[in-house]
Structure formats: C-alpha cells, structure tokens
C-alpha cells in the first residue's frame, strides 16, 4: 500500500473494465478520493461513471486494477461487511416496496441484527435529520410517498448505520427542478454537518458545482479531468470546456 492512497477514503488504482465481448467500460481509472470530500463523477450517459461508482461496493468487479477502501483492496473485504459500511442511494426505485418508511430507514440496522429499540430510536432521529415528520410518514409505504419524500427516506436509510462513505448514483435524477433544488439544499446542509466522504454520480453540472468539492469528468471510461470544483468552469481542458459550453447553451435557450 502506497503512502498516497492511505489518506484517501477511496483509491482507484488503474481500474479497468472490459466486457467479455471486448467493450471497454473503464479505462485505467486512477483516482484518489480524499477523506471527507464530496467528489462528483460527472459525465454523459455511457461515460462509465455509474460503473465506476459500483466498483466501490463490489456490485461490479473490475477486470483490471484494484479499488481500495480505507487503504484496503475491496477484494480483501468481506463483501457483506464492505457494503454495510458504505451508504448507497440511487434514484427513484431503490426503496423496498413492502417496507414502510421506518423499516426502510432501519433496513441496514435490521440486517445487522441490532436491537429493535435501538433501530427505532435511530430511525426517529433520521426522520428529523432528513426533514420528515415521524408521525406522518413512519407507517407509509413507498408508493404512498412523493418522489422527494422517497428520496429523503432513501437518504436516511443510507445514513442509518453511520457509514463514513456515501455512494450516490444520480440521487435526484427523477425529481422535478424545484424538489431537486430543495433536496440539494438539504443534502448540502446535511453533508456540511456530518463529515462524510461522498462519491456522487451526476450528469448535472450545476448539481456537481453546488454539492461537490472536487469534480471528476469521465469520458468513454477515462478520467479526462480531476479538478477542485471552483476551478472547474474556468479550466482550459477541452473536454471540460465543451461540457460546460453544452450546459451553458441549454441555459441560454431557456432564458430566451
């Protein structure tokens, strides 16, 4: 283990993924995710950002290189323990449809076999943290919640076991712009207080700029830029410039 990877919560060490039919999904990805940072993986559809995220909790196994979590290769972790120590949020459909909101939130604690009392107390705390009223929402099933409420429950579930690491895959992708802005505010506020290392997949530049301290731009499975968020839009890297331009063009058309 090299010294440079030790300070990182996650390190991607020349990670590659090639499908059996020869398509290259990830191409020598070499990245350190600093502890306590929020890093956005930005890129268009098919750039490999979601796949890269999923190598961290071993939902996907790379075909080359290795991923280190807490300076330990993920292949040396017990996959069950690895996953329980990492919070995971995805867009829209991630809640268990047959668990009510409270049981969804306590799911990780439940499978860890924590005492009922502890789970119930923790769930109440989390309801407050993500801005949901316990009495109103605890017994609701996912289909009885709005998109934003579901996302809050999903976030609370990811936080329940107090993981140091949080993986978020387009968490607000399915929400309308207003709800999305609300959720981004809530998340920013929450992350400011909780001191987690967050890896956030998004194709939304504004979201990345608003939430992340670092932005990694992926293209065709390769890292084309890895910059502090405040240097991103001013960067001279052509790939970054064209991504920023594409977003700006959309904004200009909307303002017309």
């Amino acid at each position: 283990m090299t010294g440079s990877t030790q300070a990182s919560a996650i390190a991607f060490d020349q990670v590659g993924l090639t499908t059996p039919d020869g398509r290259v999904i990830l191409d020598h990805v070499h990245l350190q995710i600093p502890t306590g940072s929020t890093t956005a993986l930005l890129g268009r559809s098919g750039s490999g950002k979601t796949t890269l995220l999923r190598t961290v909790n071993r939902l996907v196994e790379p075909t080359a290189g290795r991923v280190l979590v807490d300076a330990k290769p993920t292949t040396d972790w017990d996959p069950i323990l690895l996953r329980r120590s990492i919070g995971y949020v995805i867009q829209e459909t991630g809640l268990f449809p047959h668990f009510d909101a409270e049981r969804n939130i306590g799911a990780v604690l439940e499978i860890e076999g924590r005492p009922r009392q502890e789970i119930a107390e923790r769930a109440r705390q989390l309801f407050t943290q993500v801005g949901l009223d316990y009495a109103t929402f605890a017994r609701r099933l996912p289909y009885q919640l709005s998109g934003g409420q579901r996302q809050r429950v999903g976030l609370a579930r990811a936080l329940a076991a107090e993981p140091k690491l949080l993986l978020m895959d387009e968490p607000f992708g399915a929400l309308d712009p207003l709800t999305r802005a609300e959720m981004q505010d809530m998340l920013r506020e929450l992350l400011r207080r909780l001191n987690k290392t967050v890896l956030l997949v998004t194709h939304d530049l504004d979201e990345a700029l608003y939430l992340a301290s670092h932005i990694v731009l992926l293209e065709g499975g390769k890292v084309v830029a890895n910059l502090p968020a405040d240097e991103f839009t001013g960067s001279q890297i052509p790939a970054v410039q064209s991504y920023v331009r594409a977003v700006h063009r959309g904004t200009l058309q909307e303002n017309r």
Partner: protein, 213 residues
C-alpha cells in the same frame, strides 16, 4: 330428498372429511417440496427448463393412469391413501414450482440490487425481499394447485382411497344421479371454499399491509 340425506348424511360428512384429509396432506407435501424446488431453481436457472419440463409432463399423465402406475410401488402402493396422496402431490407440483420460480424471478432487479448493496446476505435477500414480494404469486400457485387437487381427488376412489369419489363411482355404477350429486356437490363446494379462502389470503399478501410483520 330429506330421506336421502337422512340415509346418507353421516356418510357424506365422513367422505368429505376423508376428501379433505387426502387433499390437505397432498397440498402440504406439495408445498413442502414445490416451494423449495422453485426457490432452488432461481439459484440454479440452468435447471429451470428441465425441472419445469418434468413437472409439466407429470401433469399430462391421465390421473387414472397415474394412480395405476403408483400401485406396484413399494410402500406407496401398500395403502390406497398413500397412492392417492402421492398422485395428488405430483399433480399439485407444477403450479407451485412454476409460480414460486416465476414469482421470485419477477422481483424488480433494482430492488434486489439495492438489497445487495445494503449488505444483505443471500439468505436475507430471500427472506426479507424475494419471498415477501413473491408471496402473492406463490399463493396463487397454491390456490390453483388446491382447486386442481380437490377435483382430481374424486378419482382416488377408483383405487379404493375413499373420499367423495366413492359416491360418484357408486352412483355411476348404479345409475343413481342422487349418489353422483352427493359426491359432486360437496366436492365442488370444497373447491369453491378453498379458492375463496386462499384467494382472500393472496389478496392480503399482494398489496403489502403497512406496518411491521
């Protein structure tokens, strides 16, 4: 009519109980074999086709012939009731295995992946996610199988296993429609009761009730 009932009432009750016992034991056995088999197939999908093929073929064997095939078997062939239960179990397998398999296969892959990502073991995924979400489907299979078994059990009387088929066979032999109906009507009522009862449970399982179980 009242005279007929007075004469045969206790026998009707007795044979109905016997009928219930035959189908009930067969259903318990079939569920005990069929549900685990269906689950196993979802873990070993390569076997799904051949196994479902075999249970499918069993169901195409005419029931009278199946009773006959079982007659010479050791232990099973010794008692008529064993033959009947074995045959009914074999018939009930198809809907149970098929629905268990299809029900679990039909669970939203996103939900399963989240279960995995949260760190559920494969046993926890089965118990907490797959089985509860497939429960409605599995129960529908049990219901189909039960209705089927109640009907086929009437033929068990042909090998001397008793049940309501007794009346039907006797009625046919003596050209007495009252006897035929004395077997057919309670059998039909049993089938309807099983269908309604299990249908009710199925409905309750399908839309998951709020709250903890």
């Amino acid at each position: 009519m009242t005279g007929f009932l007075a004469q045969h009432g206790s026998e009707i009750a007795e044979l109905t109980l016997e009928h219930l016992w035959l189908t009930g034991s067969a259903m318990l056995l079939a569920a005990a074999i069929g549900v685990p088999t269906g689950i196993w197939l979802t873990r070993h999908p390569r076997w799904a086709k051949p196994v479902l093929g075999v249970v499918n073929i069993i169901q195409t064997i005419p029931s009278l012939a199946l009773f006959g095939f079982l007659l010479p078997l050791p232990w099973i062939g010794d008692r008529a009731a064993r033959i009947a239960i074995a045959a009914l179990t074999a018939y009930a397998l198809l809907p149970i295995v098929r629905n268990t398999y299809a029900g679990i296969e039909g669970v939203d892959p996103t939900v399963l992946e989240v279960a995995k990502a949260l760190g559920m073991t494969s046993g926890q995924r089965l118990r907490k996610v797959e089985l509860p979400l497939a429960a409605g489907f599995i129960l529908a299979g049990l219901r189909t199988a039960t209705v089927l078994a109640v009907g086929i059990a009437t033929i068990a009387a042909a090998v001397g296993a008793g049940g309501l088929g007794e009346f039907i066979f006797r009625g046919v032999a003596s050209v007495d429609n009252r006897l035929v109906l004395a077997g057919a009507i309670p059998a039909a009522l049993l089938a309807i009761a099983a269908d309604t009862g299990l249908g009710w449970v199925e409905k309750r399982l399908k839309v998951p009730a709020p709250g903890r179980t």
